[in-house]
Amino acid sequence: MCVGPHSSHTRAAPWRTIALALCTAASLAVAWPAALRAQSMDDAIFMDRRVLCAGLLYTREQWSEYWEGSRKRTSGNIGDVTTQQATWMGAYGVTDRLNLLASLPYVWTRVSQGVLQRQSGSQDISLGVKYNALSTPLTSVGTLHVIGVAAVSMPTTDYSPDFMPLSIGTASRRATARGLLSFQSHRGWYLNGSAAYTRRGNVRLDRVAYFTNDQLVLSNEVAMPDVRETAITLGYARPNLVVPIVLTNQVTLGGGDIRRQDMPFVSNRMNFTRMDARVQYTLPKLPGVVLHAGVSRVLNGRNVGQGTTVMAGLLLAGKL
């Protein structure tokens, strides 16, 4: 059975549904400094068996205000920081209940003031598996789905994470476990709640000592605190339109604050709350083609920029 906000339409219009559903695996918008920049794999949508969906998403995030610890400020040495990503992503239905997911962003960063060099490169590849453990009718209104996601992520190039906020990522290997409950009404409304825990591996710098969290560390290795993420999605789905509104909260479980007038550091305690609004639209005449658009805004944070992000994407789906 296909599980998605529009599952009641699955049998009637399989292609349309497939495209719409699968391709909802949208990348979450970027929150500087890219702690978890990759695809979040946080939705309740599954590809049907043997369906492959793949495409490109473009995001552009910009901020001028950021939180130095909890102090909100701007910096004349950076002005606006812009991060653009082109993310290749794909999903494949091994079965209707088990999907494989992958994504790989290419990232560009730049500042509008000061002298710091722009950076760009292929960032971290993410591979995940998503499993629909349980789907059960709940009341007469809709269906409850219980979903688990496991994912790993690792850098594809040896970019340096030691040039924040311009580094293209944290260069940390990550393993994420996510649990997701999704209640989908027969009328198209749906409500998701998810919680994820990401374990992060140490990263290596090109220098032999660094100071963070009030401590001088005589090593080129940096311990990366783990990250907890919770998200609530309220959405509405029609056969060729899905509109999710997502509220995401990321908490880094350790790490130091950016010190007064210091540069950010890779293991900083990067927390934020962000609101996302997205639209996914399947072309009525080309049901294998899904267009994505979205905006997001960081509402509150610590050691991150108050980014505003726009996103656009094109995904294609088809049965193998």
Binding site: V152, G201, V208, F211, Q215, V222
Partner: protein, 516 residues
């Protein structure tokens, strides 16, 4: 579920499990310090040449009570009873400090520099406040431990320790009182206890001198500094290395020597190093009068230059006439063809930067928030000093010589920088972007190059077998600045040669200091 699905799921779980399990997240720090067993007592150190003090016995240390006296027996009894009730934390501190007091204090100092090496944040109107020594906890905190401040701090702390330890050695071999663990078999030796006489305690001498120096240099860290001094003295007592009278005499000696060194530090000219807006303007006017493009700050908002009068600060091994005589010749004129060629080279280098070059730029960056370039060379030196198993007084000599040379390099470099007041590559060509933070002071000559050459020469003098290694490091540190996009090649070449000349003064001192 299909067979394919089972395989896919198993594979995915295996990938996750492997990644998680292979994440060993404990950080192994370098510079582990095993218990110091000095390769020599350095019994002659009481006669080595003094630097600030006129003689090793300038500060009087009274004769200790006899080891057969009742008073001393009570001290031994106190150690024995304290050893019976030691906590795990006390044992840890003994293990920590047994790695060598001089090496430990150097680590403490590097941590303090890194903590305080942050420039003031601009005010809302775009001006910058100046750190205030009389209000060190404010925003901005005092001090801003920038490279000249740091070089001076490393040198004054090292010299104070060295002077105090030479004085301690003088009295140790005058009074020849053994350590408690050697006097009384019931006192356990929980650190390596040598034949070095215990009175006055070298640990307390170091604690007294270091605490006094560091409190003056980093007043907002007084609590941590005081605690570390107390820890070191407690570890010496509990380990059977020193009795309470050994410690009391050492503490008093260390403090008294530090007072002499602080007297020099407070009048070395640093107080006037920040300068005045009128002086800053005069620097630019002077460059323009010579037909040169003057340096301007590219910080946003523009920031006053870093310590423009630091070139007038007192040096260790050079007179002010020596500083002027050693000054590099003028840089290429900003209107010359040579400068255009230099600019093109930086542009080309930055544009075609390899990952390896970027790594070198980041490795030697040592910018804001770090222990600064002199700290990097202390970091390098520490492992050589550890591996050589220097006695405390010889370790202090090594750090003193190294840091005296780097302070002199800092004075000489700043004197030249603000005499020439030459622009950075990004000022002459805004298309040149930097891979590291752009320092807020003139380019020529390169401070990294001067510091590094001075350090490499002194370390090469102390550890001749590794001299080529130090030289290679110094050259790499210099070139890192061009890879970073913040220096011209000529800044690096002339800065390095300047560092060589400056180190020669310190090495000349070392050659005549009577240390065998």
């Amino acid at each position: 579920m299909s067979r394919l699905a089972r395989i896919a799921r198993a594979a995915a779980l295996a990938v996750v499990a492997t990644t998680v399990i292979s994440c060993d997240r404990s950080i192994t720090q370098t510079e582990q310090l095993p218990s110091l067993v000095a390769s020599s007592l350095d019994a002659s150190a009481g006669s080595w040449k003094m630097i600030v003090l006129s003689a090793p016995n300038q500060v009087a240390v009274p004769a200790p009570a006899s080891i057969t006296s009742d008073a001393y027996r009570l001290e031994l009894a106190a150690i024995k009873s304290a050893q019976r009730v030691m906590t795990a934390a006390q044992r840890e501190r003994i293990a920590h400090w047994s790695g060598g007091g001089v090496l430990r204090w150097d680590q403490v100092l590097r941590g303090l520099v890194a903590r305080y090496n942050l420039p003031p944040a601009p005010r809302a109107g775009g001006s910058y406040p100046v750190p205030d020594a009389s209000n060190p906890f404010a925003d901005p905190a005092f001090p801003f431990a920038n490279p000249p401040y740091a070089a001076r701090a490393y040198s004054f702390v090292a010299v104070a320790q060295y002077e105090a330890l030479k004085a301690a050695w003088f009295y140790k071999f005058q009074y020849n009182r053994p350590s408690p663990a050697r006097v009384d078999a019931d006192v356990r030796a929980l650190m390596p206890v040598s034949e070095l006489p215990a009175y006055p305690s070298e640990d307390a001498v170091m604690a007294g001198a270091s605490v006094a120096m560091l409190q003056a240099l980093f007043p907002a860290a007084v609590e941590e500094i005081t605690r570390r001094g107390a820890d070191q003295r407690e570890a010496a007592l509990l380990s059977g290395k020193a009795s309470s009278s050994d410690l009391a005499a050492g503490l008093a000696l260390g403090r008294a020597v530090a007072a002499q060194v602080l007297a020099r530090m407070s009048t070395d000219g640093t107080a006037a190093a920040v300068g005045t807006p009128m002086q800053w303007a005069a620097l630019a006017d002077s460059a323009r009068a010579r037909g040169e493009i003057p340096w301007i700050s590219l910080d946003g908002p523009a920031r006053p230059p870093m310590l423009p009068n630091f070139g007038a600060v007192l040096s260790w091994a050079m007179t002010s006439a020596d500083v002027v005589a050693a000054r590099p010749k003028a840089p290429f004129s900003t209107s010359s063809a040579e400068m255009q060629a230099e600019l093109a080279e930086v542009r080309r280098t930055v544009k075609g930067l390899t990952r390896e070059q970027r790594a070198i730029a980041l490795k030697w960056n040592d910018g804001a928030g770090t222990y600064a370039p002199p700290g990097h060379w202390n970091d390098i030196a520490a492992e050589y000093i550890r591996d050589a198993q220097f006695s405390e007084v010889r370790a202090a000599r090594a750090f003193a010589l190294l840091n005296m040379a780097m302070h002199d390099a800092s004075v000489g470099c700043w004197e030249a920088k603000f005499r020439y007041f030459s622009p950075r590559p990004s000022q002459l060509d805004p298309s040149i972007r930097t891979e590291i933070g752009l320092p807020n002071f003139p380019a020529y000559p390169s401070g990294h190059s001067t510091f590094s050459a001075a350090a490499a020469n002194v370390l090469g003098y102390l550890f001749p077998g590794a001299a080529p290694t130090f030289k290679a490091m110094s050259d790499q540190a210099g070139m890192s600045r061009m890879y970073g996009g913040i220096h011209f090649r000529n800044d690096i070449v002339e800065g390095s040669a300047h560092g060589d000349r400056i180190a020669a003064f310190t090495i000349r001192f070392a050659q005549g200091d009577r240390a065998p």
